[in-house]
Amino acid sequence: MTAAATAPRRPTLAVHKFASCDGCQLSLLDCEDELLDIAQAVEIAYFLEATRATAKGPYDIALVEGSITTAHDLKRIRAVRRQAKVLVTIGACATSGGIQALKSLADTDDYINAVYAHPRFISTLDTSTPIADHVPVDYELRGCPIDRGQLLHVLTALLHGRQPRLPNHSQCVECKRAGTVCVTVAAGTPCLGPVTQAGCGTLCPRVGRGCYGCFGPAETANTAALADHARLPVQDGGAGLDATATRHLFHGFNTNAPGFREEGLRHG
């Protein structure tokens, strides 16, 4: 018996795209130093952004990017789920509906007419919804885009049969660990960090910008207290935001995420 015949079969990996910008898939290709190790640890069986060569399912791990915005998507996500042993959604679109979920709060035809030269070619649902609204999801990776360290961590954990560690606490925990000076307290900058899930590596606060919530709501997020404080005048310790600015703060990349959606609407 040859060595090849006794070698264990590598787990297969599939990457699927729905309504999205491809940035989260790119995070996988962005794992430059680790890409060869990944290719050795798994068989990349379906990943159209990397190669048009595909292998048939079922797949051991499916990474799903993007939100559900068409009737065709609705059918396809069910097929993807049937073909996947473990399904991991990646990014704000797949986990909450993404920035395109803004259309869920507006008239879809208005959007189509505003954007497309020939609206009659467009066939779309009135909503942009997360994958978990339609099929069971095993793990979610938040972010716009996802953090490649978290992606590697989840792949590694799945390969070795270990629970991935995906903290759901606030971004503030990450900022304080990094020694980043709080932009809200020290500069009055509006920041969603206290109600946003950690994981990005303090990308925005470490360059003096407020967190715009791309990782979506943290556990036990108190969006109302944060919003009310941000609307206080600057001299009273707030950020002096008006209703529109407050709504925009919450209705960004995770418009449709529970908590953010309602908080934005409260400042309608």
Binding site: E34, D37, I38, Q40, A41, L152, H153, L155, T156, A157, L159, H160, R162, R165, P167, N168, H169, S170, C172, V173, K176, R177, A178, G179, T180, V181, C182, T184, V185, A186, A187, G188, C191, G193, P194, V195, G208, A218, E219, T220, A221, N222, A225, L226, H229, G237
Partner: protein, 412 residues
């Protein structure tokens, strides 16, 4: 090791000790001695950590020269608000209150690898030791509140029962140069916690910064250990005189008098009996459960342990990372989190800090640095919450409550 908190809660009685004798400063140093001091510490192979200005705040970071210290800045701190205001022409370096984060990160780092194991394709599993600790450090400009915090961490992390070797090593190798605080912020309440604004012990070398008649800074010094005495011998100083000592004393007394915040004296007992208070729901409406108060607290030491593996499964690591009792994961046991809502978590934090800490570690866990007040993004004030709970307890008992303002007013 002397635990700095003799009293139950800090409280009004504790402050009286500060209006006491003139401190026996031994040496007068002019401005140039700061350069000599940093130079001497570096010559000894130490990395010098001190206050410096970064991103709109005074932070603690490696420094190499007196010019790294925050001259020409004043910090304004109050509930949920921190600002640096320029003070043009001011040459003093230590006219700030508590820096944005305390010294905790230099002795109990936010992320620390505990071990790494490797299993080669052929051969035995090997266990690597943790990475070597950083070079010996000098902590320059430690505020008395932060001295007290280091002593509390010593008790927790380097006590005889379960010492943490990495902490003990970092602490042993750190030489501490304190600088008395002459400019507390509105958020400060060290005087009633009996931890400041002047250092009593816990330092190798103590300094106080005064302003000489020509407007330039001048320093009085005294040694607190043989290492500190040796260091002081290497600095160009002259004997301190009584006039200088009187100036330092008045500065200290002014720093006590400017403080308006305080914790109620009976807060330890009040919190122990407040488990079912309705006030926790009221706090929960305002609290973000973001964890900032715990992470910037110089004595909050809680950490979590996390494992990771390499892709090929041959290398595994265990890391310790700062955690917070405000996270869901902190109280997660099989089936769910014990403390699922924000009110429970705030209750846990304040009750441990100000009440159960006494039972566990023999003193309060609060040093009155005010960081949790300043760095709370929505300005929740531990002294105000404590006063409300105190008033509630007094109302239940049918007795009048002294209130925070009255407590603060009982010391000059």
């Amino acid at each position: 090791m002397a635990f700095p908190h003799g009293t139950e809660a800090g409280g009004a009685g504790a402050a009286a000790g500060w209006i006491g004798p003139v401190v026996a400063w031994s040496t007068r140093l002019d401005e140039s001695a700061l350069d000599a001091l940093i130079r001497a510490l570096r010559e000894d192979g130490r990395e010098v950590i001190g206050p410096t200005v970064r991103d709109g705040a005074v932070v603690l970071a490696p420094i190499t020269a007196p010019s790294d210290l925050p001259a020409g800045w004043r910090d304004i701190q109050d509930a949920g608000r921190y600002r640096l205001a320029p003070a043009p022409g001011e040459t003093t370096r230590f006219t700030h209150a508590a820096p944005a984060q305390g010294w905790k990160r230099f002795v109990h780092p936010p992320e620390d690898r505990l071990w790494r194991a490797h299993r080669p394709a052929h051969g035995d599993l090997t266990l690597e030791d943790p990475p070597p600790p950083p070079p010996p450090r000098a902590f320059l400009g430690v505020r008395p509140c932060d001295l007290a915090a280091l002593e509390i961490l010593d008790r927790v992390l380097a006590g005889p029962d379960q010492p943490d070797p990495a902490y003990a090593l970092r602490r042993r190798d750190a030489l501490v140069v304190s600088v008395d605080c002459g400019t507390p912020a509105a958020s400060c309440f060290c005087a009633t916690m009996d931890t400041g604004p002047a250092a009593r012990d816990g330092f190798d070398l103590a300094l106080v910064e005064l302003v000489a008649e020509d407007g330039r800074p001048v320093y009085l010094a005294r040694a607190g250990s043989p290492a500190g005495a040796d260091l002081l011998d290497r600095l160009p100083g002259t004997p301190a005189n009584d006039a200088d000592r009187e100036t330092a004393t008045s500065q200290r007394d002014r720093a006590v008098a400017t403080q308006t915040r305080a914790l109620p004296p009976g807060i330890r007992g009040v919190l122990a009996g407040a488990i079912d208070s309705r006030h926790w729901d009221e706090v929960a409406a305002r609290c973000l459960a973001c964890g900032n108060c715990t992470l910037c607290c110089p004595t909050c030491f809680c950490a979590t342990v996390e494992d990771s593996t390499s892709l090929d499964g041959r290398t595994a690591e265990r890391w310790r990372r700062w955690s917070s009792c405000f996270t869901e994961a902190f109280s997660y046991i099989h089936g769910g989190a014990v403390r699922g809502d924000r009110g429970n978590r705030y209750r846990q934090w304040i009750t441990h800090k100000l009440s159960a800490w006494h039972d566990q570690f023999g003193g309060s866990g609060c040093v009155g640095c005010g960081r949790c007040i300043t760095w709370c993004p929505v300005g929740i004030d531990i002294t105000a919450e404590a006063a409300t709970l105190d008033a509630e307890a007094h109302a239940r008992a049918g007795a009048p409550t002294p209130g925070t303002a009255a407590i603060a007013a009982t010391h000059p």
